[in-house]
Symmetry: C2
Subunit: 345 residues, 2 copies
């Protein structure tokens, strides 16, 4: 079996670390793994399958000559180096927002739109974490009863905002419990002109503000979901940061063309790939972020018919946004591309 | 000016304590304040306006002979003693769910349906905390453009589940930070057959499960809001507990008959009683639970036109559920009843 030269750009970040874990866990056929990061991480050693690999500085040369390059370092770095990596012959799988809405770049969740992988021209984009988790549960419902509109409110973990935000959650929590002063510096995002305490608090802003006073995160759930589903979907979203380390939760209200009972919806969801249904109210069993963390499956529960409209459903979806919402989905795109034999352009 | 004999049943609980604070802060015309609680709290001393008052055991005799009795001890105690208190001549203002849907009992938010106070037959019910906070923002929009449907997701503080749940949040958080084992025992509710960790986690269940696999809390937002507004409103809700000490947040999507722009909605909300609008995205200003805690006003922000439907709005509402969501609203009902001169039946 052929093995491949793989590189990770942004290997030392929260998502980059998760790539190392997931590539280790799975049988991903790696010949040589190259770890790339910014100059300040150069020389750091990271463990991969028992070997210590040295982190190299990202550059046009460093991203060239691989078979697959995973980008996990943010949109600026992707814009700077992803095309170069693709031109050198690699399949780029980009976790950033840089190319997601580019009509030449497929946006893929392998359980939802695997065939879009075949259309790639060197770059495939990995959707926003919230979108990926949401669409895993939305697609099977859409296939069965056609979704007309979705109203979404999120409960997003701090790890979506990087290592600094995880540190802030725990540091602030300890300070609060010990009655010490708190100086927030990480949320809504590190470079923001104003910061909010996240310990024992929630912050109704994820990412910067954009059109119509929605945040970019809110628009991503609208536009990216439509691109993945393959048609313009009526979606409105409110995205909120909660004091949870990892795993995003989503309260999703769906209006459908056809009627689905709770039992029908549960049946459809339990047969959908990549999903585990946990929905036993009589046993007080439903998905929580702690339960989803570290798991590959997206957890779905609290499925209820919405009697405020003729055909409606409420669904609660929880997924580890560093795994299925980021690194795992990207690795699955790579696996599917290998399976489809469409690595090179 | 006449002063009144007032009693608080459940004075030692989270909401009971808040009654003491609020009656102290405001010019509520008290002649004599009687504090009542269960047998196990008998003899405890609580400070009120500088005096130490001794807690007495609740009984049919103890609830009789007052002008106003605030019940803050849960539905069982209200069912046992509220009618007796009312029969003895008091106006009962009941914070529990016992009489909220009773057609003979007005359910009142004084800024929303003050005139319903005039219809009381001895008991006035204080709505569920989530409903009160939500309806404060929903009513002005309804008056201006008629709400057709509301889709609601909540982010509810642990104090809604009592002192034990507050203790659990802080105890579990400290244990988690120190790497110690956690034995959850308070949520979704203390007597539940299964408990969930709330520290760094969220729990998509508030109160016990009821019809159609919705929780009772979810049904309360549906039925109580309709009763307060005075017509059957299409509402669907998902209620969720978050690791916040106090103040509930609500993500509310409203479909309206008439069109409201963001500017029109902000104007309407900023002129509504009991509300403070905090909505300056360019300054990263919006309501958070920490900001709302200890405040009488319900905070509203993140107002956005919802372009997934012709006439829609997203609104973020945050209120201190122990104040406006419980004790403050009850005291305001009392004040309004005094103003309307309708204390006695």
């Amino acid at each position: 079996m052929r093995r491949y030269k793989v590189a990770i750009v942004g290997a030392t970040g929260v998502v980059g670390q998760e790539f190392l874990t997931i590539l280790s866990e799975r049988d991903f056929p790696i010949d040589k793994l190259t770890l790339l990061a910014s100059a300040k991480s150069k020389g750091r050693q990271l463990n991969f399958r028992g070997d210590m690999l040295q982190v190299e500085e990202v550059s046009e040369d460093a991203v060239s000559g691989h078979d697959i390059v995973f980008f996990a370092a943010g949109a600026t770095v992707s814009r700077q180096f992803a095309k170069k990596a693709a031109e050198s012959g690699a399949l780029v799988i980009d976790n950033s927002s840089a190319y997601r809405m580019d009509p030449d770049v497929p946006l893929v969740v392998p359980q939802v739109n695997p065939d879009d992988i075949l259309k790639h021209k060197g770059i495939i984009a990995n959707p926003n974490c919230t979108t990926t988790i949401m669409v895993m549960a939305l697609k099977p419902i859409d296939d069965a009863a056609q979704v007309k509109r979705a109203v979404v409110s999120t409960y997003q973990a701090v790890s979506g905002a990087g290592i600094k935000a995880i540190d802030a959650l725990f540091r602030e929590s300890l300070a609060y419990l010990e009655g010490e002063a708190i100086t927030p510096d990480a949320l809504p995002y590190a470079s923001a002109p104003r910061h909010y305490q996240i310990a024992f608090n929630i912050v109704p802003q994820v990412d910067a503000f954009g059109d119509m006073m929605y945040t970019k995160e809110e628009w991503k759930t609208v536009y990216e979901t439509s691109k993945i589903i393959g048609r313009k979907l009526a979606i409105t979203a409110t995205t909120v940061r909660v004091p949870v380390e990892r795993s995003h939760s989503i309260s999703m209200n769906l209006e459908t063309e056809g009627k689905l009972t709770r039992e029908e919806a549960l049946d459809i969801l339990s047969r959908a790939p990549g999903i585990r249904v946990i929905d036993e109210p009589e046993e007080l069993l439903y998905p929580t972020p702690l339960l989803a963390s570290g798991k590959d499956l997206v957890l779905v529960g609290r499925v209820r018919e919405d009697n405020s409209i003729p055909n409606g459903l409420n669904v609660w979806v929880v997924g580890d946004q560093l795994r299925k919402g980021a690194a795992l989905n990207a690795v699955e795109i790579g696996e599917k591309a290998l399976e489809l034999g469409c690595l090179a352009r």
